[in-house]
Amino acid sequence: MQQPPQGEYIYTMEFSGQMCMSKCALVFIIILFFMVPVAAQTTPPPWSWNTYSGTSQWMVTITEDQSGCGGGVTTTQSSVSIQHNLTSAVMGDIGHGPATGTFISGNILHIPGRTVSDPPGSSTLSAYDIFFTTDCSAFTGKYSWDYTGPDTVGACTGTTSFSGTNSQGCPGSNEVTPVVSPTPVDYYASMLAGPHAELLNYLPLCDERDRLQHDIDVFNAASNLNYRLTGKYLDEPPDITQDRALLNQDKDKIKTMGSEIENGYQMVLVKDPNNFQANWDMAQLKKSEGQLAVGIGYAKTALNNNVAGNEADAIKRDFAEGNNLDDYPSPGNSNFVATIGNNLPSASQNVYGTSLPQTSTEPSLLSNLWNFEIYVSPNTAVKDGNLVNQMVYSR
């Protein structure tokens, strides 16, 4: 039998291979044509948290290393929510109170450093980033903290690391739920949660500052008196020297915290200049900074805007209940209150930002309201929990 020419055979073989390969490729392409859409349906596009407004819920594992403070390493779990407002967010408490941050990219939330009350002392937290996965299933972060306090621990350093998981997927990835626009109150309440929490840490620091200053002033007065009587100043006791050092520390912390808190409130005031809580809290903040005219301006804006009717009534009702009065006293039923009213100079026309008259030698209403305080009875629940909660702002 004659063998076919080698070349022909080879040619035939090659042609057959190409035909096979073409068919295989076609099949592969057809398969891909069906697979890719299926794959697209089962793999969601990457998510960016900085485009979301709303609340996300997480199960967070928190590991706190207190070995530098004579303690151990503890791990706990808790349910934590995050309030999102596009490029900013407030993470719920994972050990040092709520934290407000800004997204520096789609899924990296930057929390700036801050100092928080950590009774009996305080802790200065480092800045840190929280990294979220693009499928919304997890996040992780870690920060260090420096504790200082009057207890036996004194000063020490530790770390807190945390990771959160979420089995719900990205917002809107499950059933389609009707989009309900948050009411303005809800919207601003979520923005105010962070700075308000910071303010509640800040105000006790101001109280401590004022107490230390008072103690130093009392000593100085006694020392000056001694000088007048004997020609000699008193020797400064160690606790006064310590008070001076602590006072300087507090002043530095207050300066840093104050500006961060104010930035948080200004984000709301830019959009809602008459927001009651933002104005009222800013009034407290400015008062604590000694800016009485500006503080009173915020207070009057809070009290005089249309929304304040209910809040003002709540404050009055709370004051009355806290002091066992039937009603908030008025000039009509109290000689004492009538006298207060008579003692107050006539109010100037003050609106937010208006300066006091430079030529006036009489204290204006603003000056006399310098020490406005709001007392909230611990036994009374104020109807709007974000408004004036059960904290005493007294000095």
């Binding site: 007065a221 008196l225 066992n324 109290s334």
Partner: protein, 132 residues
């Protein structure tokens, strides 16, 4: 005619004298004098205590030789409602000042100068100022 005129003048003078020497006016003068005396002592950081009753109630004012002023509401006027008395009576406030710089309004007014004081009395007064 002249006699009638003179009689009227005498009566008018007597009447004016009676008015000027009425109990209210006399007591008001006494209050002012007591306040002035205390203010002068306080300015000098002199150790002194005085209790003065005015239209609001009875206040005890104390200044010390290290320039610390204390104002105590001892008793409110009888016309004040009982719950206000319960709330306010006995409360005080303390104010530090420097020699020669005592604010007289701390004595002559309920609200003047209290921004630099501390204490329950000050807290209540400022809360009552807020909506007045």
């Amino acid at each position: 005619m002249t006699a009638m005129f003179l009689s009227g003048l005498v009566l008018l003078t007597l009447f004016a004298g009676c008015v000027s020497n009425s109990p209210n006016s006399a007591s008001q003068n006494a209050i002012v004098q007591e306040q002035s005396a205390f203010i002068a002592a306080a300015k000098n950081c002199t150790d002194t205590t005085v209790t003065i009753t005015d239209a609001v109630g009875t206040f005890r004012y104390t200044s010390s030789d290290n320039c610390v002023f204390t104002k105590t509401l001892v008793r409110l006027n009888q016309s004040e409602m009982q719950k206000m008395k319960t709330m306010l009576e006995g409360k005080n406030m303390t104010c530090l000042y420097t020699k020669g710089n005592f604010d007289p309004r701390l004595v002559t007014s309920l609200v003047g100068g209290i921004e630099y004081c501390s204490g329950d009395l000050k807290d209540d007064i400022t809360n009552l100022m807020l909506f007045t």
